[in-house]
Every structure is written in C-alpha cells, then in structure tokens.
C-alpha cells in the first residue's frame, strides 16, 4: 500500500507500484489536467509538483512518490487563479492548450526557485516542455509578467 498526498488530500494506492503517477492521477483519481504527451519524460505535458519540485509524472513511478506531496494543476491554487495562470491569460499564451498545464507547473517551479529569471534561465528551465503550437515567445513573456506580479 502506497500512501501519498495529492493536492492536500491523503490517498492510498494498492495497485502496481511501477504505475507512473500520471496514470494514477488521470485514470484513478480522475484529475485530467495533467496530460499524456510522450510517456518517456521528453515533452513535459505531464509536469506536476512533487514536494514542490517540477516532476514528469509520466516517468515517476508510484513507489517513488510514496509519502510525498503531489500538486497537480487542480490543486495549484485554492482560491481563484495562481499569478502564473493570470499571466498566462493576460499574455494570451495558449493555442490548443494541451501542453500549457505542464508549462504552467514548470513555470511555477521556476519562479519558486528564481524570483526574476533571465531569458536564458527561462529557456533552460522550460526547455523540457514542448509546445507544438509554438507559443514559446508568449511563455517567456508570461513568465516575466508573473515574476513581476509575484515580486
């Protein structure tokens, strides 16, 4: 039996301990905000926070998140929108939107560790998150906007 906290709620899981966290949150908990994009940690669409660290949930086995605190987009902000989500709306970042939850979770982790990232730091932190629609220019701008608002 694996115990973990998802968005502040205690959960227990007694299935295959090798099951990636992504399929647990999506198929078992029904939290579908985190997306399946590649299954091998190459695209970042599945990014969630595990103990505050940006984590590719598609390659994080349940056994590895035992006892940890998982935050998905559904639990990112209790009241209203997180400043990063607000900035995403202000800059009108999404096109199809499928990757954007992962982008936002990655950006949240970045801004938690660096208050005012440079372009280069943004590119380094976000390089694991693919956006096939090509919204990168706006992602960079939105992260800077969020950084200002969070300062």
């Amino acid at each position: 039996m694996i115990q973990l906290k998802v968005n502040g709620v205690e959960q227990s899981f007694n299935g295959d301990p090798e099951m990636p966290l992504l399929w647990y949150v999506r198929d078992i908990l029904g939290l579908t905000g985190s997306k399946f994009g590649c299954g091998v940690g190459l695209c970042g669409a599945c990014t969630v926070l595990v103990n505050g660290q940006a984590t590719r949930s598609c390659v994080a086995a349940m056994r590895d998140v035992a006892g940890k605190e998982v935050t998905t987009i559904e639990g990112l902000e209790k009241n209203g929108l997180h400043p990063v989500q607000k900035a995403w709306m202000q800059i009108n970042v999404p096109q199809c939107g499928y990757c954007q939850v992962g982008q936002i979770m990655q950006a949240v982790a970045l801004l938690n560790s660096k208050k005012k990232p440079t372009d280069h730091e943004i590119d380094e932190a976000m390089a694991g998150n693919i956006c096939r629609c090509g919204t990168y220019q706006r992602i960079r701008e939105a992260i800077k906007t969020a950084a200002e608002q969070m300062a």
């Binding site: 579908t32 590649c38 199809c96 090509g134 706006r138």
Partner: protein
C-alpha cells in the same frame, strides 16, 4: 453550406427528448442512449426561444447560444466564428455561450482543415446574426407600433431613438420567434464602421479552462463503465497478424482481454490498420499488457520500401520529363540556345504531425448505435467510417467533438475513431483507445516526401528567360486509390502551378511516385516542399548573379498583375478566381512591407549571422518572411528574430492571427531543423521526441514580429500560410550566414543543428 431555415419547430419533430449531448467545456454532459431513442442531435440553441438559425439561439434571459460547428485545435476558430455572429447580432460577448456541435450535415462542411473556417463561414455567421437582429427589431417595432426602419440596435437591446425606448433582446425573444425568418435579401448587414468585434478580435472563449486544466480534450473524455485499449498495429502498412500469443499479456493485473482488429482492405483511406488490442482497467495496464504480446507479422509488399532508396528514385524521376501541368512560351527553345543555366535539386522528407495530444478516441456501441467522443477535425468523416466499420447507417453514429490537443491535419483522418468503435462493438463496453507517442509517430498520415528539380536560364541582369520546375511526390489521393501516383490539382496548386513570377517561358511538371506509407495533409501540405524549392532557388539565382535577394525576388514577382490560369487545372483552394484572384501586387506589397519593417539592407550582420527572405502565397493568403540567424562554430543555429508580413484580406481576429503566424515560425523551425521520417523495410524508424525532435523554447525563434495588412478583401486563411515562406527564408539566412546551401531538408544533413 446549409441555408438559413426556420428550425424553431424542428425540435418538436425530433421529440426534444434528449438533453444536450455535447461535451461542454469543463462540464461533461453525457447522454446515455436508451433503446429506440432518437439520437441526441439537439443543441441548446435548438431549444432556445428564438432560434432562427442552426448556429444560434436566444433565451428570454438574454443568453445567446452560438454553435461552434468547426473543431478547435488551437486556431481559435471556435471563438472567432461565433464572434462574427455576435457582431452582426450586436450581442454582448459576455452573454454569449458557445456550444460545440456534434457531427451533423445540417452545419455544412465541418472538416476543419485547409485554413478555410473563416473564409467559408464568414458570410453564414454574419447572416445568422443579422437574421436574429432583424427579427428582434421587427418584434420591438411591432410592440411599439413604429416602423422597423426607425429602430436600431445597441448592445443587446433594440432602440427607438425618437422616443428613447429600449427593449432587451431576451424580452423580445418570444415575440420575435413568432415572426417569419427573413430572406437573405431582406437582411442589412452592419457597415464596417459599426463592427464591435470583427477586426478587433477576442481571446479564446476557453482561455481560463485552458490554464486551469479544466478544458476537456479527447484524452480526458470519460463515460461510466469504459475500459482502456492500447493497440499493437502492423509495423508495415498493409501488414497482417500471422499469429499471436497473448498468454503473458493476460497475466498483467488489470488486463481483461485481447481483441484482434481485422487488417484493412486496400485502399487504406480512414480504416483502422488492424492489429491486436489489449483491453484493461486503465491506460497503464493496457500498455503493460501490450508489451507482453507476442505477434508474428506478415508484412506484405511494402516491406521492400526503404526511404533512402526511395529518395534516389524520386530524384531520378524528377530528372526525366514528367507530366506538364502548366506552360508559358517554350522553355526548351531557350534551353537549346544555351546561355547561363542553373540547375538544382531540392528534397523534403516525410514529416509527422506530432500534435501534443496523441491520437485518442472513446466509443460506445450499444443497441445497434454508436456514440463516439473524439478530438477530431472531421466529425462527419468520423461518422462515415464508424458507420462503415460497424455496418450501421451514418445517422446512427453520434460524434461528439472534444477540444483537440493540436491537429495540424492528422485529426482530419478518423482511423483512430473507427478503431475505438470497432473495439467497443467487440468488447461490448465503451472503449477508449489511447495511442502512445510512438503509435502517433509510426502510424501517421505523413506529409509527402518530395523531390524537386529546378532549371533556369538567365538573361540580362540575371532575370530568368526560361524556368523549368518538376516535383515528384507520392500523392494524398493514394490513400483512396492505390494506383494514384501523380499529384492532383488540389496539391499541385499549392505553391507549384501558381508560381507567380513574371517569366516569358515557364514549364511546370509533376512526376509519378507510388506511396508505401499513408500520405496525408499536414499544416501547409504541398506548399512546404514547393515553397521551399522555389524560394530557395530564387535566392540561389540572386546570389549567383550578384543581386540583392530582396530586389531580385521583387524583380521576379514583377509588376502588379492578375495571374491568368487559362489552361491550368487550378482549383484556387475551392474559391472562385473572381472573388479571390491571384494578385501579384499583393505578394509584392507584403514583400516590401516586411523588408521595410525589418530594415532590410540597413542592418549590419557580423560573422556567422545572416538574413534570408522568402515570399509565398498559400490558402489564399500572401506572406513574406525575413529570418535572421546566428550560426556558431559548432553549426548550432539560433534564430533571434523573424518578421512576417501577411495579407489575408479581412482579418476578423488579429490577435489570434498573430498567434498563428508566431506558431508557424516555430512549426517551420521544427520542419527545417529536424523534421524527418524515414523507413527501413517498410517500417518507420522514428518513435518519439528523441528521434523526431520538434523545436523547443531554446531552439525556436526568440522573437517573431507579425505585420498584418489592413484589407477589405474577402477573408483568407491564417492557420497554415505562415509555414512555407519561413522554411525557405530560414535556409536562405543560413546560406547568408555560412555559405552552406540547404537543398535537402532537414538542416542536420549539413552538419547544422
């Protein structure tokens, strides 16, 4: 296009028994089918008090329902088309609720491809809004006992200025619904000066849902009792299962059963590819079970296909005389006279779509009827293939359209939807088929691999006196007819037969190529390889004659004129040449505009930096692009700046249009930097983002500036036209920076990355 009809009474005919069956964003309304029940076709708009159009309904509380009949894959058409309705209606956008249509021919064409949602539905949307506004005005006038001609509308109200009376739309809805629906001729559309939204645009209706994870994509669709499926498909197109052993697969916890899917009978069209499906409690269990399958394949005749050898065959074909598809003057006579002649071969490999949401579909077959939920660009096409595969009438298939996590043309081919339906019938439960990224890349409908041969003789000043171009590529019609080997007019027109240069002697040719994989539409389609060849060759000729590439390009485009397509099978993207003539002056204008905005010739470029330019019209939109690159000693290409000027006629949503062109620069970067699908013994070599990389934030253009020509010409496409000129401009910039001429994409062939 469906005509406006008074459909208010229609719901009584259908019984009005089923609640809205559509997937509404953030809320899941799933209607379950009961035996003998009518299928859920009704929208909230259908049930609204005033319902003068299939696209529109107005409630007594003032709520305006607008039906989005086209699919949303990121181009914002789900927002932009309703915005046109709202403008003509003079509606308050905050009181508009958008609902997604199911597949239903009453909406006309729903296949959301070819960059024509706005072009083809702009008039219909205006008409829908104007019809309702007309009826509301009539109702108010009748109520006030004044002529309708002295009444007008303001935001969500009808106004009689003389007496300062106003009536809200909601309170007029019931009276208006009793009036006859006006004919098209009676309608008076708003003048441009009165537009509220057209030309100003709006952000996506779904924006908040998109940033909160509440948006429902096909991957997120769910119904009670559903099971998950993952399918091991024949690795070679047309292959079959010879034998298989599922004992180990069935031992995986959560796996229920395995199901064989029949191989297709050629041509493939949109049929499932066949294979063995593993059915399980959850996606992970299905994937694990699939890994334990042991299958022996009969690969069939396409096993002989190797993409390296095929590339050489295409090139050889392009060196021989081919089918002539357009001709001016006599190129052979000029070539026979000798003179300064240049030749070049260009090549673009197969390309995969790789939308961020891998293919997925959920289907429930019950009591002889099917309901599917899918991220599809083509819900009516999905109905058709599902009906055919299940042997039921198309009318007994309901196709709900979820949001699409990208489409780029792949999701207009509903093979994956049919797969889910076939499995649901076999399993007797709702089945959700989840494609992995590997499936998505290995079982695509690829953009055609193409080889282009170009030859020109140059006269005084370096201007061509004769120009020959041949393209050879396996055509898209091959998925419907295994014997189709020549390009069809719909794809030869894409940047090939419509070469806009002012040339005294021109011959355009196309050669035969047999397909060994499924070929399909991908964002910009044949314009990708055709635009690359023509715009690269143009740049090569400019450099060969010592001319400035911009000035040379303008020289070739020549004086403003309308291209005469007499004798050419030129479909003009389905539009008439009267409404959408090919005007070289507009291509010239965007070229001059982008050069001016960028500061062409006025900016200094250091070692390892360079700029390139290209101009290309596609999907009826004129685009010119300048790309600036920096290439370091390791051959790493950075793109600090891109400028794009476009003339798409009337642009309804400039903000969404800018986004599409910024995205096109990134899409084009992926094509040029790393876009390459290859095959060995008929099986695709690539599998995921490690071997089919797409541009990441640190590889994409840092800044793309988009300039939109202010135009009253009828609206044209914006989703696709940004890609083709970008690719050529990038390669031209690489030449300017390094002296390396990229003729075979991707650029990795030249030690660049």
């Amino acid at each position: 296009m469906s005509a406006i009809e008074n459909v208010s009474r229609r719901r009584f005919l259908t019984g009005g028994i089923v609640a809205a069956g559509a997937l509404v964003l953030g809320v899941r309304y799933y209607s379950k089918l009961s035996p003998g029940a009518k299928l859920p076709q009704d929208t909230n708009a259908d049930h609204a008090t005033l319902h003068p159009s299939v696209y529109l309904g107005i409630e007594p509380d003032g709520t305006v329902w607008i039906v989005a009949s086209r699919s949303e894959m990121g181009t914002t058409s789900r927002t932009t088309l309703p915005l046109v309705v709202a403008d003509e209606l003079d509606a308050d956008w905050k009181r508009v609720k958008i609902e997604q249509a199911i597949g239903d021919k009453r909406y006309g064409d729903q296949n959301t491809d070819g960059s024509h949602s706005i072009r083809s539905f702009y008039d219909a949307m205006r008409q829908a809004g104007a019809t309702a506004r007309f009826m509301l005005i009539q109702a108010a006038a009748k109520q006030w006992g004044v002529p309708a001609t002295v009444c007008e509308t303001d935001l969500h109200v009808v106004v009689h200025r003389a007496t300062n009376r106003t009536a809200r739309y909601g309170e007029l809805a019931s009276a208006a619904a009793k009036l006859p629906v006006p004919s098209r001729e009676e309608l008076k559309l708003k003048p441009k000066t009165a537009w509220r939204y057209i030309g100003k645009g709006e952000v996506s209706y779904d924006l908040e849902a998109l940033v909160t994870g509440k948006a429902i994509y096909g991957m997120d669709a769910h119904v009670e009792g559903m099971v998950y499926a993952s399918v091991e498909r024949p690795p070679v197109l047309g292959g079959k299962v010879k034998s298989y052993d599922d004992k180990e697969a069935l031992k995986v916890a959560g796996v229920h059963q395995t199901v064989a899917i029949d191989p297709f009978t050629p041509p493939p069209a949109f049929q499932p590819l066949g294979g063995i499906a593993v059915i399980a409690d959850n996606t992970w269990a299905a994937l694990q079970g699939r890994k334990k399958l042991s299958i022996t394949w009969d690969n069939g005749p396409n096993e002989t296909y190797n993409s390296d050898a095929y590339k050489n065959e295409l090139r050889e074909s392009a060196h021989k005389p081919c089918k002539v598809v357009r001709t001016i003057g006599d190129v052979d006579a000029v070539f026979a006279n000798g003179g300064k002649t240049f030749e070049a071969d260009y090549y673009v490999p197969l390309l995969a779509h790789a939308a961020m949401e891998p293919l997925v579909a959920l289907a429930e077959f019950k009591d002889g009827k099917a309901t599917v939920w899918a991220p599809t660009q083509n819900p009516q096409g999905a109905q058709e293939i599902v009906a055919r595969e299940l042997g039921i009438p198309k009318e007994d298939v309901v196709c709900h359209v979820t949001l699409l996590g990208g489409g780029f043309g792949r999701k207009s081919k509903p093979d994956y939807v049919a797969e889910a339906a076939v499995l649901s019938k076999k399993v007797g439960r709702p089945v959700k088929v989840v494609w992995t990224r590997e499936d998505d890349i290995k079982f695509d409908y690829y953009n055609a691999v193409a080889s282009m041969y170009m030859k020109a003789t140059l006269g005084s000043g370096g201007k061509p006196t004769a120009w020959l171009q041949r393209s050879v590529f396996p055509p898209i019609p091959s998925i419907f007819d295994v014997n189709a080997v020549y390009g069809d007019p719909n794809h030869l027109q894409q940047g090939w037969t419509d070469i806009p240069y002012d040339l005294p002697n021109l011959r355009v040719e196309n050669g035969p190529a047999k397909a060994h994989v499924r070929i399909g539409w991908l964002r910009s389609v044949a314009n990708i390889y055709h635009g690359f060849a023509i715009q690269s060759f143009t740049d090569e000729l400019a450099h060969a004659t010592g001319r400035d590439p911009l000035e040379y390009l303008l020289d070739l485009i020549g004086a403003p004129r309308t291209i005469d397509f007499k004798g050419v099978d030129y479909p003009n993207y389905g539009a008439t040449l009267e409404a959408y003539p090919w005007e070289t002056g507009r291509l010239r204008h965007v070229t001059e505009m982008v050069a001016e905005k960028y500061g062409w010739g006025r900016r200094k470029h250091g070692k390892g930096t360079g700029v390139g330019i290209a101009a290309h019209k596609s999907f009826l939109t004129y685009v010119a692009t300048i790309v600036e690159v920096e290439v370091n000693d390791q051959g790493e290409v950075r793109i600090p700046r891109v400028d794009m000027a476009l003339d798409a006629g009337l642009v309804v949503n400039p903000e969404a249009t800018r986004a599409q062109f910024q995205g096109a620069a990134v899409f084009g970067t992926s094509v040029a930097r790393s876009g390459q699908i290859t095959a060995t013994k008929g099986a695709i070599d690539q599998s995921n983002f490690q071997d089919y990389p797409v541009a990441r934030i640190n590889e994409a253009p840092a800044q793309t500036n988009v300039y939109i020509v202010d135009s009253d010409a009828p609206p044209a496409g914006v989703g696709e036209p940004g890609v083709p000129p970008f690719i050529a401009a990038l390669c031209n910039a690489i030449f300017a920076a390094t002296g390396k001429r990229v003729r075979d994409l991707p650029i990795t062939n030249y030690g660049l990355s």
